[in-house]
């Protein structure tokens, strides 16, 4: 059943896309962000979080219909080095990111104004403004939406885990035994589907708040147009002499944390590892692509210039002797 839906959605998407292309071969003006409004960002005020995990539970509950239901036994994969990622028996794990847990609470014991304190805060996908997971997805399964959400389409994803590798925080998590790869060459290509926070894109479409934001008793998170969120983050940071994470990380993300202690300190204090992202400074992962794209505009001009130059020289050579002949 799952596979049928996958195949249908896949074909529908492809046909619709081909139709859209035929209808307008220049899709830029309608589809470029900005035509429909600013990206939405979230603000996470670390001071307020009490670590109750209500957000974690709400995320699991609301997104349960999107969770993978793998068919077992899994198809045998070759070569044997390809490992199965199976979280379907560990759906209750909530202290890290998994395909069944897109949000978890990280804990840091730090000193605030000379006082030892336990700080807790929600961690999930940062929804980068220029997300390498989406840019580098070879299959078009991971995409950025105009409202600033980065989403992996579970009907399309082949589970190669490239997005996890190129993500500066290694956020997306894999479940084997589900998705489109089962319909193609399950033993030789793909390995399931990657899962992560989709910032409740379906709720946002309906004008609702993401579940984790709505349920939080302490109003830790806020969502709004990015420039407003950045402004507010700065206002809080100035007020508390605090620090911001996400404004410039990886070229800017649509998730901004505000903390009373420096993020280096938080990063030292948190548990890090698979499914437990760091809080280090992150350079813009796609900066090379932005820079080389500029060179791509010049390249054909250089090619044309070289050919025209050659033409000019050869025609001079051709006309030269002719004139001498006269």
């Amino acid at each position: 059943m799952g596979n049928t839906i996958s195949r249908r959605a896949f074909l529908k998407g492809g046909i619709a896309a081909a139709g859209a292309l035929a209808a307008s071969s220049l899709p830029l003006p309608q589809t470029v962000k900005g035509a429909t409004g600013e990206e939405l960002a979230t603000l996470i005020d670390i001071r307020k979080c009490i670590g109750c995990e209500a957000c974690v539970e709400a995320c699991q509950e609301v997104n349960a219909p999107k969770f993978p239901e793998p068919t077992k036994p899994f198809p045998k994969m070759y070569p044997s080095r390809v490992k199965v990622s199976d979280w379907s028996e560990d759906r209750d794990v909530s202290d890290r990111l998994t395909p069944y847990n897109w949000l978890f609470i990280q804990e840091a014991v730090v000193t605030v104004k000379g006082e030892k304190k336990i700080l807790t805060f929600p961690r999930r996908c940062m929804h980068c403004q220029n997300p390498p997971c989406a840019d580098l997805c070879p299959w078009g399964a991971a995409r950025k939406l105009k409202n600033g959400i980065t989403r992996i389409d579970a009907d399309l994803c082949l589970g190669g885990s490239k997005c996890n590798k190129v993500c500066p925080w290694h956020i997306p998590q894999r479940q084997t035994g589900v998705g489109l790869y089962l319909d193609i060459l399950p033993s030789f290509a793909g390995n399931g589907v990657m899962y992560k926070c989709d910032r409740c894109y379906d709720r946002i479409e309906q004008g609702k708040l993401p579940a984790c934001i709505e349920v939080c008793p302490e109003n830790v998170q806020k969502i709004g147009p990015r420039h407003e969120i950045v402004k507010e983050a700065h206002a809080i940071a100035t007020e508390i002499n605090g620090y911001i994470y996400g404004e410039t990380e990886n070229g800017g993300t649509n998730t901004l944390y505000v903390s009373p202690v420096p993020f280096e300190e938080l990063n030292r204090a948190i548990e890090k590892g698979p499914g437990k992202p760091h809080l280090r400074p992150v350079k813009d992962a796609m900066a090379h692509a932005d820079n080389l794209a500029k060179a791509m505009v010049v390249a054909p001009i250089a090619g044309v210039a070289a050919a025209v130059g050659k033409f000019y020289n050869t025609s001079k050579k051709v006309t030269g002797p002719k004139e001498q002949d006269k």
Binding site: G13, G14, A16, A17, A18, A20, L21, P27, L28, T31, V32, K33, G34, P79, R81, V82, Q129, N130, D135, L136, C137, P138, W139, G140, A141, R143, K144, L145, K146, D153, L156, G160, K162, K165, V166, A189, G251, G252, A285, M286, H288, A289, D290, L292, A293, A295, M296, A299, P300, I301, A302, G303, V304, A306, A307, V308, K310, F311, T314, K317
Partner: protein
């Protein structure tokens, strides 16, 4: 007259090999965008570790694209201004040109998509990503067929 002809064919030969070399690099780094080189031990070959580094292969793919765009623009203008007088394109050349156009256009769309300011619709992104690979596979298939048929790009007028 004789030395001029020799000079032209020498340049064409260089262009041809530059094109083949660029194409091989583009195909390799392009396929390297799929997570297969590690799975299938390519990156385990001594000296090939870089092939599993997605950022590195992406960088090389972009550099190759810059070179390819310059080369294609050169060949195109050169054909219309000079070469066209002596040769005409074969049927197999038209097939390759059509597929190459597909590769380049979808490639340009992908480059645009990767800019921070540009967001395409999900369907369009999917179309561009998958058809870029599709055009390339078709190109390789036809290139192999034309190689078997010994059908070049041009023939004398």
């Amino acid at each position: 007259m004789k030395p001029k002809k020799y000079k032209v064919s020498g340049e064409k030969r260089i262009v041809k090999w530059l094109y083949i070399l660029t194409f091989v690099v583009m195909a390799f780094t392009g396929f390297g965008q799929m997570p297969i080189f590690k799975r299938y031990y390519i990156s385990d070959i001594p000296g090939m570790g870089w092939s599993a580094d997605f950022y590195f292969t992406h960088y090389i793919h972009y550099l190759g694209a810059i070179f390819l765009l310059a080369l294609l623009a050169y060949v195109m203008v050169d054909y219309f201004l000079i070469t066209k007088r002596n040769v005409r394109l074969t049927a197999s050349a038209y097939v390759r040109i059509a597929l190459l156009t597909g590769i380049v256009l979808t490639g340009v769309i992908r480059v645009l998509k990767n800019l921070p300011e540009v967001v395409f619709s999900p369907g369009f992104t999917q179309f561009a990503d998958i058809s870029h690979l599709g055009f390339m596979m078709l190109y390789l298939l036809f290139a192999a067929i034309f190689l078997g048929l010994k059908s070049g790009w041009v023939q004398a007028r």
